[in-house]
Symmetry: C2
Amino acid sequence: NFQYMEEKNIKMALNDNKAGMEGLDRDKINKIIMESSKGSKFYENEVKREQQVNQRIDKMMLQKEQITEQHLKKAQAQVARMVVELEKRRDLTRVIVHVDMDAFYAAVEMRDCPELKDKPMAVGSMSMLSTSNYHARKYGVRAAMPGFIAKKLCPNLVIVPTNFDKYRAVSSEIREIFADYDPNFMPMSLDEAYLDFTEHLEKRQSWPDSLRTHHYRASSNPKGIAPNMMLAKVCSDKNKPNGQYRLPSTREAVMEFVCNLPVRKVSGIGKVSEKLLNALGISSCSHLGQKMALLSLLFSETAWHHFLQVSLGLGSAFIPRHEERKSMSTERTFKEMSAAEEQLSLCRELCEDLANDLKKEGLKGKTVTLKLKNVNFEVKTRALTLSYPVATADEIFAVAKDLLKTERDNESPQPLRLRLMGNQIKQFN
Amino acid sequence: NFQYMEEKNIKMALNDNKAGMEGLDRDKINKIIMESSKGSKFYENEVKREQQVNQRIDKMMLQKEQITEQHLKKAQAQVARMVVELEKRRDLTRVIVHVDMDAFYAAVEMRDCPELKDKPMAVGSMSMLSTSNYHARKYGVRAAMPGFIAKKLCPNLVIVPTNFDKYRAVSSEIREIFADYDPNFMPMSLDEAYLDFTEHLEKRQSWPDSLRTHHYRASSNPKGIAPNMMLAKVCSDKNKPNGQYRLPSTREAVMEFVCNLPVRKVSGIGKVSEKLLNALGISSCSHLGQKMALLSLLFSETAWHHFLQVSLGLGSAFIPRHEERKSMSTERTFKEMSAAEEQLSLCRELCEDLANDLKKEGLKGKTVTLKLKNVNFEVKTRALTLSYPVATADEIFAVAKDLLKTERDNESPQPLRLRLMGNQIKQFN
DNA sequence: TTGCAAACG
DNA sequence: TACTCGTTTGCAA
DNA sequence: CTCCACATC
DNA sequence: TACTGATGTGGAG
Ligand SMILES: Nc1ncnc2c1ncn2[C@H]1C[C@H](O)[C@@H](COP(=O)(O)OP(=O)(O)OP(=O)(O)O)O1
Ligand SMILES: Nc1ncnc2c1ncn2[C@H]1C[C@H](O)[C@@H](COP(=O)(O)OP(=O)(O)OP(=O)(O)O)O1
Ligand SMILES: [Mg+2]
Ligand SMILES: [Mg+2]
Ligand SMILES: [Mg+2]
Ligand SMILES: [Mg+2]
């Protein structure tokens, strides 16, 4: 029992930074997760990665020791100047909405099979789940968890295979609704988007009760409403499922909101950043503000600028236009594969699939990247940039097969034992 | 590591009383088995049963303490008298053969799919294997092991589903061969029979090289040859796979053979009897002879008579006629089932299946037995004997459903949570 | 330009 | 037996 | 007669 | 998430 209390140091533990994961028996859940994982290659790799993170922390703490009061004072001054600048530009005039469907894939499946409504269920396979409904989340079952572990947590869990096309179809219906409110809305994924409601409100002078009544009844659509994207995003998670949260557009409300906000809730601050910050005594955003001078000395410019903005409750108050894609890739996991011919023919197949996808969007790219994951879950990428853009399967394969051959030849001990292969194209120009 | 060395006291450990299980890494195997099982309801039940056996041993050891030299002497005298009697009747004139196919189901599947020949494979499912080929046995994979554990022991194991009809068909071909040598042979299972070769040898004056050359090439058919059934059975296991063993028909040869024979090798002495005997310092059959007086005081008459015969290398020198069946039953394991209607309708189905089977053999029986196993693997049987024999589904169900209802009503806490149900008929007259 | 780690859904 | 896939970003070499 | 434990394949 | 199913024997109550 004791051993699972140390969960903070253990990568395998339940990641409960997710709606619907509050107040469940974490010890029991972590025990089951741990016992299902311990000894597996996956687990060993996670342990290795965790150690690397710990080393990173050690290095950071050493650096911290070197910092003098002098340094800190100077840094503090610079931070203060920047705060003034940022406050000057603070914009509370916009109304930014972040919409994010509840348990999206699961909701679609439940719509199509109402039997599932009162059951704990998840979408995916015995190997991997991409989401679960809220009933299942009560058991600790969540996205990115393998189904066979989820089944141990929740023996009655129903696992429905993924129907990506359905989700894409529902998504496009949802987006039509979004467009009614803000034609320039920014989709972030199939189930989620930022909308600038400012104009709509000026015209209508009133809030819609809910987008829900209009749109396809697959899923409820809770919103987060706030003066900028960063805050709206946090807010949309707040009353999940099935609710919304509006943060008033005043500096006081914003600062109070941000004060006790755990850093991990902020989009962009993940597990590792959280751990780094925790090591410095920072867990909430108010701590961020208090330690900005230190942070400016320990982190990169982009990183501490971001932290500073977060600590002030700042974020983008306008929604950028949708950007063109920068890369396209395809990858596949399979049972251990060591035979050269088999690997080569799989590589060819991946190139064909990728070429197909490129064709659909009429794209050509100059950089071909081969991705390999061996049976110990160690990932490698090998890239080559050509002087001309390519798009066909043959062109891509010509590059990829050489990259693969080099890796096979250099592998020791022989042979190269793979569990995943992937191809990527970028540099579209 | 250490903990798995204590395997003698642990029910879950690999049962290696099986051909092809010699000289493999038992510690590693037991570790995997244990880690796959620990904490499961199955495991908990095994632990409970093991404790009961231990209590039985404790009781026996207490009884042993009460025994005086007097008792022992008297017992020794009785044993000695019986030895004289038995020796008088010792019959070394018959040639008894026990034939037992190698890895029978697996051999049939390999015959039908030669791809499998060089692979470790087993017959059954992820839940249960009924046998494995010798390649797989090298990994500790064997009959009565669940497939999912076998897969951990041997990731490349191929599991092919059971085709019982095929095995029955092959079996009947084999039996035709058997009949050529002894029309009164006694089949013990699909792949195994006792034959009395005495007459055949008197006529032919020579041994067939092998039955193998004659019969269907599904499986090799190693034999054990000895002057009685008990010894023949032990011998047939000796040179598995693919060999045979003949024990000469002299008292000396027999006694030497028996001397170092582990009691567990004797048919009828299983895991529990072995453990009881071990507690008395008995592991080989020679020990049996040395401690017969003690055994006659601690075990039932039938039991110690059996032990005495074994210790003298005695057994039946003639093969009894095939007996009529005494019972017929059908049972099924399923996912936890608690709802009354569901249980009832399953019970009806089982009765129908049983009635069908009874009809095929034109049988009627007076005793109906309901078998239940709850989700903790605890087994109950409840029987009722009628004054008249029954055979139809309705008749059987009329009894079974009442037996079931009683159990449901008496269960506490409610409800009755089942994992298996079965029906049996006996008392055919 | 390359390779990797982190993050997100 | 079974621990994803597609995409972006940032950092360091 | 009933129930259970043990054993076999 | 998955630990059988058919049959027989013996012993105790
Ligand atoms: N780790 C993942 N791997 C693959 N697909 C994922 C993953 N996480 C999420 N998805 C897919 C399935 C989700 O339904 C969909 C939207 O993601 P997201 O909004 O984060 O969760 P969700 O909509 O299922 O639940 P909720 O938003 O209520 O927490 O994207
Ligand atoms: N525990 C069991 N449960 C179900 N079926 C079994 C079990 N044990 C054996 N069988 C079936 C499958 C076997 O092929 C067949 C003959 O059993 P048996 O002769 O003991 O083993 P085997 O023929 O497979 O291997 P071998 O005899 O070489 O040790 O009976
Ligand atoms: Mg969502
Ligand atoms: Mg989302
Ligand atoms: Mg056999
Ligand atoms: Mg057999």
